[in-house]
Each structure stands twice: as C-alpha cells, then as structure tokens.
Amino acid sequence: MFLINCPFCGEREQSEFKAGGEAHIVRPKQPTELSDDEWAEYLFMRKNIKGVQFERWNHIHGCRKWFNMVRDTSNDQIKAVYKMGEKPPVK
C-alpha cells in the first residue's frame, strides 16, 4: 500500500485515494470538428506502460480533490505529485 502525498492534505494511505487513469489527456474543446478516428483517439486510447507513467488520482476519502502523480509502475515508486493544471515537475 502506497503512501500518497496529497498536494492539499499531505501524506495519506493509498486506501483514501482512487486512481483515475492516464493524466494530461485534455478533452477536445470542439469535439464536433473531430473525425471519428480523432475522437476515438481521445476517447479510448490510453497508455499502459511498465515504467514512468503520468496518472490522475483523486483523494476520494479526503479532500476529494483531483491531482496528478508520476509513478513508476514497475516498482510503484511515486516520483512526484502536483496539482491539476500544473506542469509535471519531472520527466
């Protein structure tokens, strides 16, 4: 079980959080202008890599805030957490 450093609350148990899939996928501003393929790319295609991954997490049993996390999926090491809208502090 991880310890996650919520950017709003500090370090908490993983059981207080919910994972929300890949981060930095922006909902298209004008979906109607997109082709089926472009829309499908946004809608369905997600990375699932062994290694450093950018993820969304929600402190669902805490402040209920969404934030981003950089996690190495091969060993569960959390490289960074940062607020929505911020640039990732690591590559």
């Binding site: 310890l3 109607t32 809608l43 929600n58 209920r64």
Partner: protein, 1003 residues
Amino acid sequence: MSNNLRFKTSKFIDETYRVSFKFNNKTYFGFKGDTLASALLANGIHLVGRSFKYHRPRGIMTSGSEEPNAIIQLHDNSSRTEPNVRATEVEIYEGLVASSQNCWPSVNFDIGGINNLLSPILPAGFYYKTFMWPASFWEKYEYFIRKSAGLGKSPKVADPDIYEHNYIHCDVLVIGAGISGIMAAKMAAKNGFKTLLVDEKSYLGGSSIYDNSEFSKINNQLTSSWLEKEINEISKLENLEIKIRTSVAAYHGYNFLLARESLTDHLPINQRDNKVRHRLLKIRAKKVITATGSIERPLIFDNNDRPGILLSSAIKKYIDLYGVACGENNVLFTNNDTAYETAMSLIQRGIKINAIIDNREQVDSKICYEVEKNNIKIYKGFSVVDTYGYRRINKISIMKLSKDGQTVIGDKTKLNCDCLGVSGGWTPAVHLFTQSGGKLKFREEDQVFIPDVYPSDQISVGSCNGDFGLDEIIKNTLSSLKKFLNIDNSEYKTLEIISGLNQSKRNIWLLPSDKTIGKTKSFVDYQNDATSKDIKLALREGFRSIEHVKRYTTTGMGTDQGKLGNMHALGIISETAGTKMGEHGTTTFRPPYTPLTFGTIVGRNVGEFFDIFRRTPIHDWHVKNNAEFENVGQWKRAWYYPKENENMHQAVQRESKAARDSAGILDASTLGKIDIQGTDASEFLNRVYTNAWSKLAVGKCRYGLMLNEDGMVYDDGVTTRLGENHYIMTTTTGGAANVLGKLEDYLQTEWPELDVYLSSVTDHYATISVCGPNSKKIVSKVIPDLDFSDENFPHMSFKNAKIGNIKCKVMRISFTGEQSYEINIQANFGKSVWEKCMDAGKDFNITPYGTETMHLLRAEKGFIIVGQDTDATLTPIDLQMDWIVSKKKYDFIGKRSLYRSDTIREDRKQLVGLLTENPEEVLEEGAQIVSDVKKSPIEMLGHVTSSYYSPNLKKSIALGVVKSGKNMLGQKLIIPMENKNINVIVADPVFFDKEGKRLNAKL
C-alpha cells in the same frame, strides 16, 4: 513407547505443570512449554498424518512454521475447529484435542494408501491429463476426487472468537527475535528510534537461546547465556515494544506490513471467553529490519519422507529446548557442519548416534573432530540411497558417492536407526523480503539466494541475509546496522566470538541412487507429494519456467508454500535443463507467509458489520409495517409490504392497483441528491445533461439524461431550479456517489473556469412521494398552507412550504404516471411527516408501496431504469429517447459519440415493449429473444430487461432490447425457454396512458 525420551532438564519446559491432551482420541501428557509436536515426540509418536496424493505415512519433520507434514485438525467437531494447523506451532494446553487429517479411517490404516501402490499411474499433471477429458466426465470424477482430496474440515458453525485490527506506526520494525533481531532492536531503541520487535514464537532468542555449544561462544560465554542477558536488558527499554506469538504475514510496498498477533491460542479453552483471539496488526514502519533467519534444507533421496526422518536442526531443538529425544538410535545425514552441532547435543545427553553419513570427502572443523573423538562412525563421501520401515523408519542403506557426485558406487551398507536427521545446509528465509519487491541474487559458493536490491528503507540481517557462522552473523549485523540506522554502535564494542563450524558444503540437489529414477520416490514437496521424478517429467514435457513447473507438479503449492523444497526444485530444474540457477527465476513468495484464519482477516467486521448498509429515516416504520427489504447499493429499501398471507406477487399487485385507483406512498429518500450552486450552474447542467437547461424557469423541474463520454446512458433523474444560480439534482439510488464523483472530475479537471459548487445532500432530506388520483387531497391536508391548485402548482414544478414550523420542499413530479407529489423534509422529521401522510390518506386507502411496485408502475409507463433496462451499451437513441437529446447544443458529455460509425448503426439493440401472445404468461427477465429457433446456431437478437404482470392493464408486459427493434413494431418474436417457446409481439414501450392524461386528471 519408551520412557527415556524426555530429559527433564530443559529450562523452557515447566516439569511441575503437567498438561493432558488428546490426539486421535487417545490421551497423552506433556508439560507446559511443549508444542504439540514436542509432546507427541516425547510420547514416541512420529506418525501424525498422511500425504496428500499417495496417502503415505508422514511424521513430524521440523520444529517450526516450515512444517509440511504435521498439519492437524484442532478442536475436532467444536465451533473452534481449525484445519491445517502445524503441530510444531501449537503450544499445548490442558484439554487440547487434535487429530490427523487426510486419512480415513485412521492414520495407521488409510484406504487412500492404495494411491501409493498406484503411483506409477499418478504422475505429475495426472489430474490435468486424465480428469479434464472428456469434459462431460468431470462431474463423475469430481465426486471421487472431492471425497479423497482436501486437507481437513472447515467449521460448520459460527466462530465464537473475537478478532480485531490494530494500526501501528513505528520508526523501526524488527522482524524476528533471534540473535541479530535482538541486537538490532537494542541498537535501534537505544538510539532513540521507536522500535517494535516481533517474533512468531512464544519465546525470544531464536535458535541461539538454546545454543549451549562449547564451540560457539561470545565473550567467552555460552551463546545462550550471553543472549539471555541481552534479552533481559532490552525488555526494560522504554522505546521498545516486544510482541511474541506475532507472525508477519505480508510485507507490502512502502514498508506496510501485516502481522498476526496470537493472544489466546495457547490458553485452555475455558480461559478464552471474551478475549481477543488474534489481532491483525497493520504496521507502517519508517524502517524495517528483517531478521527472519533461515530454514534448514532437507536432502532429496529415495524414500526421504518416512516418519522418523527430521531436519537435523529440529532434532537439536527438540533436545535442547524441549528436552525431548526424537529417537534412541540416531543417524545423521549431512552435507555440511551443522549436523555435528546436533550430534554434540545428542552426545551430551547420552543419546545413541549409530553413524553420521556425510556427503563430503573431507571434514576438518573443530566440531567434527570432537564428534569423531566420541567414537562416532562418520561415513565420509557417502550418501543414503534408501530407507525402510512403513510407519516409522527402521533402517537405511548407504553407498559411496562417486567423485562427481552423480552416481553411487561400491557396496550397499545397511544401518539400523529409528530416527534420521538430515541437513542439506540452510536457505535464507527471504520470503518477506521478496514480498516487499526485493530482488535476490544467487551466491554460487553455497548455492543460496540472498537479498540484493532493496525496494524500500529496509535491511536484512543475520542468516536471512546469507550469514551463517556466528562470527559472521554478529560482525555483519553490527556493521550493516550502523550504516542503516546511521548510529554509533558503542554497545557492542568488545565482542569476541568463537565459532567452531566452518561453512564447507557439498551441495547435490538430487542425490544419486542405485535405482533408475523411475523406480525412486524422492520427495521435493512433502505436502503435495511432488517428487524429483515429477519435476523431470515436467521438463521432458516441455515446461521451462519455474512458475509453470510449479503448477504442473504442484511443487510449493501446499499450505507450507514449499518452504523446505522449493530450492531443490529449482536446483533439479537447472541441473536437468543444464542452465544456471536463477535463470528460470525463483518462484514468487506470496502473502501470507503462514496462513491466516478468516476471522483474523475480517476482524470486527462480522455479522451486521460485514457489509455496511444505510437506512432511510423512515426505516423503522417500514420494519414495523412488515416490509420486506431489498438491497439497492448500500441501502436497505422497502421492497413490498405483504399483508397477512400475501406472497410477493399478491402484495405487489395490490399495491400497484391501489396507487392508480386512489393513492400510494413511497419512501424515495434513497435517491441521490446533489446541491448545485454558482453563477455557471446552468451552463454546467447544459454540459452534463443531453437536454437544454438555460431556459428552465426558477421553480420548475426537468428530467435529465446523463451520458458517458462514449455516448452511453450513465444516469438519469429530475433536477429542480431552486433559484437563479441554485439547482438540486436527483440521481439514481445506486449511482449517487459515482455521479457526484464524475461531476467533480469534470469541474476540477476539464472546466475549472466554471463557477459551480457541488455538495451531496442525499442524507439531509427524507423524500416522501405520494401518488395517485387522490394524492392532491392528501398532501393538501398535510400542508394546508400551500395552494395545490393546478394553476399555482402545475406538473414539473416546485414549491417551498412549511409543515408546522418545519420547512420543506415539495416537487410535483412523477415516476408512475400518476399525479404525484414529493415532499423533501429535513431527515429527522421524515418519519413523522410520513405518518402524517398515512393519517391524511386513511380515507383514501393510502397504500405504502415498495421498490417492486415502483418498478411495475414505471414499466407500465415505459420509463427506463438505468442499470436494469440499460447496461452501458445503450445510447438515448437506442432507448427511443431521441426527444431528450438537444440538437441545438454545441456540446455536452457524450454528444460526439452519438454519431460515431458504430453508434449510428441501424441494427443496434434498441429498447422495445414486448407483449406475450398469451396475456397471462409473464416473461423471465434476462431471457433471450430470437426470431427463428430452427436455424442453428440460433441468432440472439436481444434479451428481456423488465417484465411484470400489470394489474392495471390486466396483462403481462415487458421491456427488452432487440436488434433493430425500432423497426419491428408488431412483429412476432420468440423467447425460447427450457421447456417451451413463448411467442411475443414487439410493441411500443409505453403501455399505459400514452397521452399522459392522468398527470393532470381531475376526479
């Protein structure tokens, strides 16, 4: 049975405290301090069970949690009965009752033993190969397999014991209280770390606490004496908490560990009441020191599993700790020096050693010379090739090993013995380390896996780190702890250590035999009866990965997880395949390290606390009025209210009719309610619902449909505009939490610029829905100050009102198609307002109805239930709800997906009404819908989603989804059932009051 097996000189056994216990219906005596295993051995009993597959007689093999054979059933036939308990771990108490498992009719005569004779036809993978084909025969095989397989019996009644969970936070956790663990705990605690020391045993000190050997000393004291003083000292340290009988079951990432503290298992049954039996400790440690020691390896040779064959270290422990001799005529068989320590313990007590068989050609440590001086015959360069004796070993035969160790040569010599101690060297107990994500490396010299890469702030010390000599253990423990804790370890400045053992070893994973391998039974996994032959067969059949070999042969898959034999399995694989050790990987050690009971896992979450549920404020009234309940999400909802002898069908028919004839009342408090405020609230609703919201006037209500981004229906409900920037949204009962989560997600991540605030107010209100042609009269009596005229209070509108002094919100909305009012009132007044409504409705036969009637009434109207009629594969268009999808709005969640190539297909499954040819025939929900039963395979067109007998229409009605259903109106379809085909006609999904006249009907 012999009387000279017990030496009453052990300080760990209280010889003034005699304990009687029953094993296989016979009464025996032991002493306080005994384990069941040591007490049985003291009574001359080795045979305690039968093996899993061949039902071979098996005896006590070890003295700890690694025991593969001596697994027994505790407390037969009582509510506390427990299978698969290791006799080596059970501390005896007055009145203990235990029996062998996996044998019938008795351990001495077991019918399954016939499998042993059949073993040539029971090779590895036998079950996979035989019983899987033909598939239809499985049912027949299963009966016999289930009867003869399985270990132990599970309890048949509720567990009477209490369990609990505890969180523990500490700076340093030390696992294992052997010599390294004790030193580690002392150094950590003395240097200001809040430290927790745990050990699975009932005493501290590990194997060093009974090490009275003259050959390994610390500061010129016996190791045991020196360690005793250390233990004395640390038990006074304030910074240190010590927990014995505490076994670490799991080591997860981020130094999160689970341990089971056993509190009453060692007490007589009558002293256990009202005490906590086990505590599951959830430990979060900043630093972890693993000092779990090592497990002695057996040796793999023909018939190496007979009762009376034990690990050599176990024999030593039974003598030195429990004062019990395992045999009176012993032979030791070893490939390293440790068996000579056992020999010295035997010699000191005057117990006969017939011979020592040593694989090595040369033995040249002090301790070996000392043993030789005592006139013990040592066969150097020899190996045991076979053993004899059915229920107990009585003979072995030995032969000389060839130079390369691959064959045996020369004559066969037979030696008598009643006990054979085996030692194949030591395997570091790295289970917890690997569970934590640690990576191992293989050390060639002595063929062991040792910790290499640590995934968290932790360290392994002592023999679990691959240090085996006393001097090495202490030296390395000190230096690595100093670094790990970043401290000055002045406590142990002057330690002089003598160690009389050297670490030479002649490792042969599978010892050679004079027989061909097909004729041998050399057990690698004792519990699952996996032999070296099975492993070689698996390799011949093409298995290479250790994980595959393991599953195919079931090696390491017993309750002991192969703590003894896994290394040999790896060794035999690599020797046979000609690869390097570790190349095939090691098997994964999974939690728990030792099995946990269900009670420990669930703790206090039993009975009504097992799964939490929510009650509405009106719940007690429903209970009092005989309601049956159904679970909806976490809620207990009134399902129907049977009167006298009514069954469910009768009750629902009566309720449904009453609601349309006069008045019904429903507790709708469970509907999700989300309060939405902010200057962009209307814009927000525009984006999350498929229809338009900007023009909804204050005080009006509107039904909304919410999609996922993929265009599929997600949730629905009525939202009311309370003010210019204020709405209250209702959601489905089960969807409330997810809808709030989804809306929050969009607000926080996609549209942070919107000024909108959400809060869940589901629990704030009780919601009472009164419906039916007389509903208006009833609510007018309950809220006399409110003008209920259609002009003032039309359908789909909302009013603030007061009942006495209590404010309430009244919505005129309908899920039944009847005129209907929803009173939302502060939750704690819910029950009294409900009772007021019941009072006011007395003259109108107001009838409480539950969820089943609600479902029936809405089905008559063709209203969908998200999650029943939909399943995340249906768009609003599929549901024939095109009317609710705004064509004008530029965007809303899921809009773009509504015209993807797949969602515009004409032949998608679409919601339709279904009427049976025979109006009395009610369809089964979930039944398949087809058009042609003669064509094979039959094409499935869809399925029935909702089905009822309508008392108001006096016929059966159903909803279903059917491919191209929209264009099938009037067409005949077939519902094939097990014993008949039911004909149905596709109909409009709205069966009742299509024009909606009843919403405004005047009586």
